[in-house]
Amino acid sequence: MPVAEVLSPPSPPASVTASQRLSHLRLLEAESIHILREVASEFERPVMLYSIGKDSSVMLRLAQKAFYPAPIPFPLLHVDTGFKFAEMISFRDAMARSVGTELLVWRNETAIAAGTNPIALDTKRCCGLLKTQALLDALRHYNFDAAFGGARRDEEKSRAKERIYSFRDSAGQWDPKNQRPELWNLYNARVHPGESIRVFPLSNWTEMDVWQYIHEENIPVVDLYFAKERPMYVRPAGSGQEALLPIEQAFVARLGEQPQMIKSRLRSLGCSPCTGAIRSDADTLPKIIAELLQFRSSERANRAIDHDQEGSMEIKKREGYF
């Protein structure tokens, strides 16, 4: 398993004294642990959506902390589209083993068998079948009444307005105009049969907070986040920009297209046909953090699904997407 390299070993979170303030990371950590414990105590069948990305890695560590020395009292669920990078799948299995938590994997086998892919269909319909539909089916199959997700409010405009406890009707849909007020740290966990709550314990974290926490806590993340020479298809993306597409699935190649070896990394992990890489020399956590400070693009700029229409994330969430 790739373990994050650390240049200067960060001091472990030492015991605090009253004269000390808590840093922003410790404040965010305390808030997230409070949320994890509330959900585990108030719902009958919670589950943690585990997407293998950096946010899921942080969320999993927070769950270990929340219930220590007891085990995490809920399973992990990975919705597998069949297009995840092979490195992600092996990381996922190793992680679940080392944490000692039950891992459930759900795939929309009917759609996968029918050859669903983002090129044959458009990204919107592909996501609808392989992600949203699969997620709703899994939640219904296991009868989960609460599902943790690692989404953050700084990721996207509609997420900025979503509650920490996001109420979903019996079809899994989000109604942005009719959200429950959420005050102090008092969360309303009441649902009727069939309804559920999506819970976002990392709501108040930013991308930078997540990386800093991974660094401070030495949390393992998938190697794809670190720069190295990787074969990529290089395509023009308008106004002098380029898109780097990882070679993972044969069908993404265009006729006669040859991959090039490029020192690159992924900034966020999704399905391989829809997740672009960036040129980068950042092969350590401090270098990733330094690179992040220089960035002039948001982390989801490389995710095709956010851009296929105006307000597209909000529309997906209304339909049941995380």
Binding site: R21, L28, A66, K157, K161, P181, T206
Partner: protein
């Protein structure tokens, strides 16, 4: 003039600095008209908290002149908002400066969004109140200041915006300052919560005094808005308050370990401290403070930790662990300020669930002291509170809870009300007084005492149907401890005035009067509080459950009704 050379960037130094940064949460309220979205967009843009692709996605859209960026589009996230050019909901924004990280709770300013303002203020250390310099103090600014004071947001920064529209005129600014200071004093007198206020003249559109101090207003010698936000003390007060620790969960991985997981709501705790568990009143000493990263020799608010005590005492979720020498109040009756948040108005004697720290208790609003008119600060007599209404009410709880007044503790003094039927969050509450009616041991027994003792209020349940099912319903009420009086009615003659008198006296003494019309067949009808339901008598379990739910809905049964209905 010396030429500044860029210092080599060291990520190690950067991370060391980051570890020292704290967090300040502030709320804003306002509408497009007073430039709130523009102000926030400007803060984000000028602190480099917005990425190029986000700016690109809004360039050329919106209502500003060509070539300019409409900053409001950065913040108005929902389609309906972008289409209508308004802010509907609370949005959370994040930015950071070399000194501090910030979370903005960005809320709309119109009256119909008072509840969203209260939501944003509930977690805020500071509030930025906007005043449009070209219009003076309007009701919206008053409302936001009132909410901030009611929810005890300690620091208020008044940003007097659109100074560019009035030629950066100092006299106009000073007039607003004077006017609004007197408004704040009146508000503080009403809420009992003084605020620390600072005024800053700004132009969000031009960027004056937002991040950098402006040359356009040499008469203003104070800091910019961002400098103010960077220098405010953050919520250190929670350290000074007595130790409070609501138990969220009992951790018992094996028979050797029993720990109480929770978040320190206020104060500090160390191993060896004497603690008391409320409401039971049992005491113990803290043996260990356990975390994943090792035991601590001290925990402070708001850390999430696990406490291990030196002896076995019965503790469960919802209990409050407090410092033995500074205990909280245990009470069953509260007086509280409410902000009503639901389209369905407050109903006295309707069954609500009160969520306070980590527990949920059935509750009834017994009376309304007054409703506050935010415009005039007048206290008006009221029978109900409608959406966005604010008032002071009396609440009876079915079980006692351990609490502090909101003025002394924002964590153990706050609650939400949930409608037991719709599950909506209907109100935010701030405890202003607490008492314990059950403590009275003399005088005649009151209706409240009976209700608390029996778990129900007086009421009439009318049942028509087969005798076997009606017997089982009566028995299900009996088993749960309800006091019922069964009155069988002759179908031909109906209810005589004697029986009616009898029923009234039973109800007055807190019993449930069962008016029974025996009728053969497959149908049972049940009526309470004007609501009539028809049920299938061939499914007695479902019918009994439905009758219990009817009684809970009508406010007759008080305890949560999912217990053992089935006989």
């Amino acid at each position: 003039m010396a030429i500044l050379t860029a210092l080599p960037f060291s990520v190690g130094d950067y991370l060391a600095d980051e570890r020292e940064k704290d967090l300040l949460r502030f709320s804003t309220a306002g509408s497009v008209d007073d430039g709130k979205s523009t102000l926030i967009g400007r803060l984000l843009y000028d602190t480099q908290s917005v990425y190029e692709d986000q700016v690109r996605s809004i360039e050329g859209k919106g209502t500003t002149a060509p070539g300019q960026i409409d900053f409001a589009l950065l913040t108005d996230g929902l389609r309906a908002e972008r289409e209508q050019g308004i802010t509907i909901d609370v949005a959370y924004r994040y930015f950071s400066t070399p000194r501090r990280k910030f979370i903005i709770a960005d809320t709309p300013g119109h009256e119909q969004y008072t509840r969203n303002m209260a939501t944003g203020a509930s977690t805020a250390d500071a509030a930025v109140v906007l005043i449009d310099a070209s219009k003076g103090v309007l009701i919206q600014s008053r409302r936001h200041a009132y909410i901030a004071s009611l929810l005890r947001v300690r620091h208020v920064i008044v940003a007097v915006n659109k100074m560019d529209l009035i030629g950066y005129d100092e006299a106009a600014f000073r007039a607003i300052e004077l006017d609004f200071t007197s408004v704040l004093n009146q508000i503080a007198a009403d809420t009992g919560s003084p605020v620390e206020v600072r005024f800053v003249p700004v132009s969000a559109l031009a960027g004056d005094n937002i991040v950098h101090r402006s040359d356009a207003m040499p008469w203003y010698k104070g800091p910019s808005l961002l400098e103010l936000l960077e220098s405010l003390p953050s919520a250190l007060e929670t350290h000074a308050a007595p130790f409070r620790f609501p138990v969220q969960r009992v951790l018992r991985p094996d028979h050797t370990f029993r720990g109480f997981a929770g978040q320190v709501a206020s104060g500090t705790v160390r191993p060896g401290d004497k603690i008391t568990v409320l409401p039971s009143g049992r005491s113990a000493e803290v043996a260990r403070i356990v975390t994943f990263d090792g035991d601590l020799n001290e925990a402070i608010a708001p850390q999430s930790v696990t406490l291990v005590l030196d002896r076995e005492i019965d503790i469960s979720r919802g209990d409050l662990i407090v410092a033995t020498q500074a205990q909280a109040t245990v009470a069953k009756r509260l007086q509280a300020a409410l902000v009503w948040m639901d389209a369905r108005p407050l109903q006295r004697n309707r069954r609500y669930l009160l969520k306070h720290t980590s527990q949920t208790v059935p509750a009834f609003v017994s009376s309304i002291e007054h409703r506050t008119n935010i415009g005039t600060l007048a206290h008006e007599a009221a029978e109900t509170l409608e959406m966005n209404g604010i008032g002071v009410v009396n609440i009876d709880l079915l079980r006692p809870i351990a609490l502090d007044l909101y003025g002394e503790n924002r964590s153990t003094g706050a609650f939400i009300l949930i409608d037991a039927e719709t599950n909506s969050t209907v109100a935010a509450g701030m405890i202003t007084a607490a008492s314990n009616p059950a403590a009275s041991t003399s005088g005649p027994v009151t209706a409240e005492e009976r209700a608390a003792h029996w778990g129900h209020r007086g009421g009439v349940l009318e049942l028509t149907g087969p005798v076997e099912l009606i017997d089982r319903i009566e028995r299900s009420l009996f088993v749960r401890g309800a006091i019922t009086a069964r009155l069988e009615v002759d179908a031909e003659f109906g209810i005589s005035s004697t029986i009616e008198h009898l029923i009234r006296s039973k109800v007055l003494s807190g019993m449930i009067a069962l008016i029974v019309n025996l009728a053969a067949g497959e149908t049972l009808t049940a009526q309470a509080d004007g609501e009539l339901i028809a049920l299938n008598a061939s499914d007695p379990v479902a019918a009994i459950a439905a009758v219990n739910e009817l009684l809970a809905r009508s406010g007759i049964l008080l305890s949560s009704g999912n217990a053992d209905w089935e006989i």
